[in-house]
Symmetry: D3
Subunit: 290 residues, 6 copies
């Protein structure tokens, strides 16, 4: 059965002459235009955040600045800062574009690119983090940490500015995500809410998880210490993981164990960070639960 | 030992000629009046949010509008929207009244109806959700999602506008609650903080839990997929539930198992969503913990 | 290898003639001055929150007031309130100083005292709680609850005003922490994010955990009921604890069990709330995970 | 030479079946729609203030509420108040409509009805005054005076709530206009900026000017005491008037004298409050100036 | 005929044991209490600005701070500043009290002390000026000028911080008043709106008017240069005065002349700054006007 | 007698290699730095408005945006707009620089360039007008008028966006200035507060005054109609001018007459718009005043 029109995801790649970013921007403007027409009560918001802007970078800078500003960090200051960083680093812009595509394709509840841009606190928190990380890398640490603090307050998402994140990420729901200072997250990773990539609690140094490409981490999972979650691995919701997980295997439970057993773990072929299959391991688990 | 006066919950039902809603409103005004007298520093707040309004609906609309507004979604717009929806749908008003009574009777930390109205983010998030759900049902999806996003930012409570919620609900503490698009929650359910009613991660369609009447879900429990939690069931704190739970049984653990065993689960007589008994299953569990 | 200069924690105690509070204040001003010099974009913020104030108490009151104010609870009212309580209760001021030292010494991601003062929502939430608790103790309950509600909204940290907290506390990351009405937390305790010190759900009365001095509670741990966590105990991340835990032992898992076994639990010598060692129990656990 | 299209004033009266108010509203929406299309940077503002509203009364209430609100008089409160008064008093609504037409027809700088509605502080101050006057008439004096004070702060227009104003008024530029407690202003009057209708400074009672229909009062004119300015009279800019002025005569100068002399004043046929002819008396005055 | 109750001005002096300031404060609280009772829509405002405060100084500091704050000059900073200056200088407090009495007794439109405190921009501008003047006198010029600028923006009253003002002043309506750097204003002076005490435009130095005690200056009068307006003199509305005016005489017109003639001016016995008699010179002027 | 150091105006022109704009900017930063050092309470404001910015254009855009924004016209939108116009039109930037120099040199009360930039509402209103005029010239009239309206509200200065203004202008005090649609103002003109360059009130077309270079217009003067005020003329305070004034003559009074008489007017050599000599014509006038 075909999806209703509004749920059909526009086909990418775009025509050759156009960049991904500008193709996305034209999609977003078209969506926002359609929504403004059908919902006058929202039109002011849509014009302010999307339709009055000449580019995705300006729209995103405006939106983040107005979300993250406070009485002591003015929106104009943040707007300037976001604009400057986004304009200077094409890699941040293309990562944002990849994230938009990731959310749109992986989350069935996401009905449009503009929905993601405007409403996904996970998406917004990641983009603000990319700016904070850029500041951190330039040794502008106090400003990076102030921005980090605003993101933690406003979105309840706590990503240390030093953490290194890939692109094509989905932070679904996002509330309560904590990612520590020396964590590394690969590309095309999907992370649900309340996930912790935490430290060992011991002294300074490299002490947070390294997450491979294409990993899926279920809601409430806690991964602690400088452990390696192999590419394409899957971490079950509510799991507590303290040691390495091999690629394309599934770890579940508290304490986490590998589905199929430590010695002969089941290996899956799909990339769970992209397929978002959280629960197909139910069958293997079901003989001992409920 | 009788409760101190301030903790005695006013008896309901009210005299015949009066509606539940107007009875509650008179209680709330009396409480707010008493508090304004005793605490001048709070009187301005109490007059603004409660005592200057002619009805519960206006007070609630005002309070939500001022909590959820932002620089791009003005309080006057939200006030108008809430007022219009609350005025048009008596069922939403009566559900709000039932929620107020539920919080007041089930949570021993709730000292008055006005305490709930003013300070319980779970209560406020649910009422905002009811408005978003009404918009969603009228195919005003972009506005519903914008409101959803504000609730997720401000209260860290993430209820998809399409989710169907019953009445007499208690979202205790509420931070971090996530309820997905196709979830259904019955009447008189109590849900603690950090609870997830999440999807399977697989494609579009009916993919979230169905929670029966009178269920109690403990803090941090994660229920995933289109599973059925039977009426009067109890889900232990921190549990991870991936398959159906029979009525009036208790599931605990990660992965969750039934107290009493899969074959002969213990059945309780009370309605835990109302009695709020989280831990009486300790005795049955205690032989294998600590 | 010596730490880089910015990570060297200034030695305390200060010279005799100076109080801890004024020594901390001079450190904070020096840090803020250095940061304002090196980052003009942040200087306005640093002058507003730190450098324009004559004392730590005024800086903290200003910062909390501007973080927690809303359209119906004005910053000037909150500023007055904080200033009055902090000025009247030296014990609250010294607890705040102890918390600053705790965060700075225990969290390797904390690079300065001003970093903690300005950006740690856990630190700020605790100080606001101390004020709410003081109001509660003076029977100014409606105001205490209004403040409690603002902290829960803004920081996603939910500490009931009646809860009794010690000093030298670290709420790391802090999002999602819930501490109930009759909970008691000792000195030098460290609590990670998403930790619940919750009730049993049964009637009124003493129904929340009692946490001894020096305890460390890992991320996402849920401790329910009037149970006693002995001094120096350690609760593993994601654990669900429903009964007492002896001093200097470690409880992990859902349901939680003692490392070393119920009868002969391992005892550690360090104070985990101070050493922050989350994961040294991995080795003992590792034979049955992954 | 025909006016350019944008300066042609739409012909009124409207078709029979339509009220003046709804005709104006349809004009205003059409103008705002056109402007939103041509100027995306202003579209958000135009949707928020005009295009999202179902009626002129709601648009005006929204706009005034957001202009006049302060940190202690919230926009939602003012919105409610304006809406309630405008809805209850059709005469206020029709006076507002008459004022819109007056501004549009008399001021060549006014390019559209929406221009007047959105940008003319004189128009907005008068409408807020009508609400304050209604409150005053209902003996709600403290609220009337609070609103009066906001108008004086925001628009620098000071009209005492007790003053009685007609309809079809133009307050051009408006800054500095002062109209005292017992002043009465007729219909179709035009008043330039810095005009004072002031008291005698002596005790309580009827002590302010009475301005007849169709009067024109030039910039900076000061009229003091319970004097009568006859219908269709004209008061020159900068005049100081302390005694009655006969109908359809012109008073100029400080102290003011009648053009044509006290005994045989020139009488004009036009209605200067409508024709806005400020300066045709130059010829008669020119032999003694410059 | 006796005045209606609400217009009877409470008799002063107060009973012996009480200071003028505390007597006024008790009057203001009683008025605000009465108004809050009768007008719930205003109660929040009245509690925030008056009834929640323990003293006139705190109420006034709060009110001014919230009126004069901006996105870059926060209310908490201004509140602190006002409180500190008012607390340190009893002479400023007693001047404010004298101004309150002056407004209440001289302006028949002023219905209560709280009306003046809350709504009279002239009163508020003078009190802010007294603070700015105190800062100026302490050589804190940049802060004095920033405050001056806020008063000029918010109230359209422009009093240079260096100007020296007496007590018992009434700035009626106040919009457009300009008082220059080296101006001096005596006690018990009444000044209407649009009055200028301006410079000569020539170089640095003492170049602004000196206004004696008890002077009354009518609306729109312009007094320029280092001229002396003798005690008890009266300046007619709209007058332009460039040279000295003897005590207890009346100057009117543009250019101003003395009523009664330069050689034999009429002298009045009353103190016009207190009696507020603007227009009794009409009879003497009437043979050549209108 | 030499001026005190703070009143010595830095000598211009700057060294050859530097533009006037960048020289001014370096002066302003030095002044703001000195003030921030000496007045910590103002440092946050000075960093936000001046010291955090890399150029005068950004500082001015920030300051205007935060002064003129409202709940429906966000500061980020205005900031973008100002920045874009100032960046695109060097002539606007050089006019702003000329205005800064004019204020600093002509107004003895102006103690520094930063004082003018931050606090002079006349200076700020003119710069906002230049932006509005640029928009008007590009046929972006609705946006130009919205900006015009904000300036009229915030500064009580009402300059129609179509009016053409020269450079090197001083609007001293500025409150109440009104400049109409077809007015033209030359270079090096000084205009005091309450001055009106108004229309004739008759139909559409060229109907406002034309002010020559170097003119000085005193406080409260009203000039009406398409009249020509010759270069270097002087208009006395409170004058009402309805016909042409020859170059380098002085018109005073209501109605205005030429000093020296219509046939043989006195001519002055200085440029009063620059020398600011308001009152040297007193001697000639003094035989018939006071």
């Amino acid at each position: 059965m075909p999806l209703p029109a509004e749920q059909q995801i526009p086909t990418f790649p775009p025509p050759e002459a156009e960049s991904e970013e500008s193709w996305l921007w034209s999609q977003i403007k078209a969506e926002a235009h359609r929504d403004a027409e059908s919902e006058p009560a929202l039109a002011s918001y849509l014009y302010a955040t999307v339709l009055s802007h000449p580019s995705l970078v300006r729209s995103l800078s405006f939106h983040l600045a107005n979300k993250l500003c406070s009485s002591t960090l003015l929106s104009t200051l943040l707007y300037d800062l976001f604009l400057q960083i986004f304009s200077s680093f094409p890699s941040i812009r293309s990562a944002a574009a990849a994230d938009l595509l990731a959310v749109r394709h992986r989350d069935p509840a996401c009905i449009s690119f503009s929905h993601c841009l405007l409403n996904y606190k996970g998406f917004l928190a990641i983009q603000a983090h990319r700016v904070a990380h850029s500041l951190w890398s330039q040794s502008r640490r106090p400003l990076a940490l102030a921005l980090h603090s605003r993101v933690a307050d406003v979105f309840s998402v706590d990503i240390h500015p030093a953490a290194r994140l890939g692109k094509g990420l989905l932070l679904d729901h996002a509330t309560g995500v904590v990612i520590g200072e020396t964590a590394v997250v690969g590309n095309n990773v999907s992370i649900l809410h309340h996930v912790t990539l935490g430290g060992t609690g011991k002294a300074v140094g490299d002490r947070h998880p390294k997450i491979g490409d294409g990993v899926l981490i279920g809601a409430g999972a806690t991964i602690l210490g400088n452990v390696k979650i192999g590419e394409g691995a899957k971490i079950g919701a509510g799991s507590v993981v303290l040691i390495d997980v091999p690629p394309r295997t599934t770890a579940v439970g508290n304490p986490a164990r590998l589905v199929g057993g430590k010695e002969t773990p089941s290996r899956h072929e799909d990339v769970p960070g992209e397929s978002m299959d959280h629960t197909s391991f139910i069958s293997e688990w079901s003989d001992y639960i409920i």
